[in-house]
């Protein structure tokens, strides 16, 4: 299947680049450190501050991953070779999105314990819920991020443009993720902010659906 092949290819290339992975992980850990120092040393509302820090670090560090996935397309004509195979563009998009999602999930697995330790929040009981929120948030991030990254391919100052377009688009996802994580850590349930699950799910579906219509056009435009 094209989708799986593209995903495996991107993940393999990420895995071979130890320097990139180390930079990504150090950058995200540094963001958590900086934000926890900014909020601390005495936290007013640790669960709120920790959830905001966790997701801010993830979203900022995620841009590095998206930019790198763009570079993979450009290196050694990899992107052109993929298009020459005649594979369905949406399958290519889904493969890249899945690879970005798994990369971001890896960052999440690293950042979550750091934020939990620094802010002294969270417990194993709510961990499945937090992982569910992470899945919703990161699927949307990967879906929208891959779409915008494809659009920014070949542009000048693309990292800047990616941030300018991507972060405002992700605000519903970011607010939802922060509110749900905060609710889980503070009250052990998502009930008070349950509506945000719907908002995040809609954002995820919308990103994937828009790509189904537009990704082929984006590919043609940025060739």
């Amino acid at each position: 299947m094209t989708f799986l092949s593209v995903m495996r290819k991107d993940l393999r290339l990420h895995a071979r680049d130890a320097r990139f992975l180390a930079t990504l992980l150090l950058f995200s850990a540094s963001l958590v450190l900086i934000l926890s120092v900014a909020f601390g040393p005495i936290f007013k509302d640790p669960t709120r501050e920790a959830s905001a820090t966790l997701w801010a670090a993830l979203f900022f560090a995620g841009v590095l991953g998206l930019t790198r996935s763009l570079d993979l397309e450009g290196e050694s004509g990899g992107g052109d070779a993929l298009r020459l195979t005649g594979a369905d563009p949406y399958s290519l998009y889904l493969g890249k999105t899945a690879a970005n999602f798994l990369l971001l999930s890896g960052v999440f697995v690293l950042v979550l314990p750091i934020a939990s330790i620094f802010f002294d929040v969270g417990n194993l009981e709510v961990l499945p819920g937090v992982l569910g929120v992470a899945a919703l948030g990161l699927i949307g991030y990967a879906a929208w991020g891959t779409l915008f990254a494809a659009l920014a391919r070949g542009l000048k100052a693309r990292e800047l443009l990616l941030s300018v377009l991507l972060f405002p688009s992700l605000v519903p996802l970011w607010i939802g993720a922060v509110k749900l994580t905060h609710s889980l850590w503070a009250e052990g349930t998502v009930e008070p902010v349950r509506d945000w699950i719907k908002v995040m799910a809609v954002a995820d579906i919308l990103g994937l659906a828009l790509a189904a219509f537009l990704y082929e056009l984006i590919q043609e435009a940025t060739e």
């Binding site: 659009l151 070949g154 377009l165 405002p168 688009s169 519903p172 828009l210 537009l214 984006i218 940025t222």
Partner: protein, 235 residues
Amino acid sequence: MNTAIPSWWRGVGAALWALAAILLGASLWAIWNYAPTEVQMGIVQKIVYVHVPSATMTLCAFGLTFAASIAYLTTKQWAWDAVAAASCELGMVFATVVMVTGPLWARSAWNTWWTWEPRLTTFLILWILYAGYHVVRSSIRSSSKRTVSSILGIILFVNLPVVWMSIQWWRGSLHPRNVTMTGEMRTTLLLSMGAWMVFFAAALLTRLRLEWIREDALERDLAGARTPEAGRAGA
């Protein structure tokens, strides 16, 4: 491709500018002399006659960008891309008016310049995203500029229903869900709405004319470069 500007274009544009000037003058007169001053907010309430029409025109302009973007991707005619870009620029002007008049109202009505309520937050996101549209558009020099801009015009449209429905979907909105105006206030608001609409049409035609001139110049340059004389001169 014939890129010459039709002769009627300038005439229609001039007529629309004249009508816009008359209507804007009339709406200003109505705001100050015809509409009564609201009892609680006083003179600050008159901001509504600029704020609401600007917000409406913002949504119309970005909606037109969306429609023209689809039309460009379907037909690949440069004129649709020009309409999308021109409409988006005007939408940004109207959106900026909304962002300036909103806090002026908020300071008087809610005792704060800014609050993170749903309509304000979603509108700010909209403003940033469409500003990003212009940044992206101006940074592309290649032939893909029109296609990339059109795709962006479609993607960003997703935010319009969110802005419109934000006060229904989220609690804690300070914006009223329904505004009922009667008498002179209603008439003044409708007059302002009409004036801004004609202003938008006039400005759009003028902006399109500039785009037309640019396209014509580009066409002439290309035609000049294709002649044998130009080729010898280049060599």
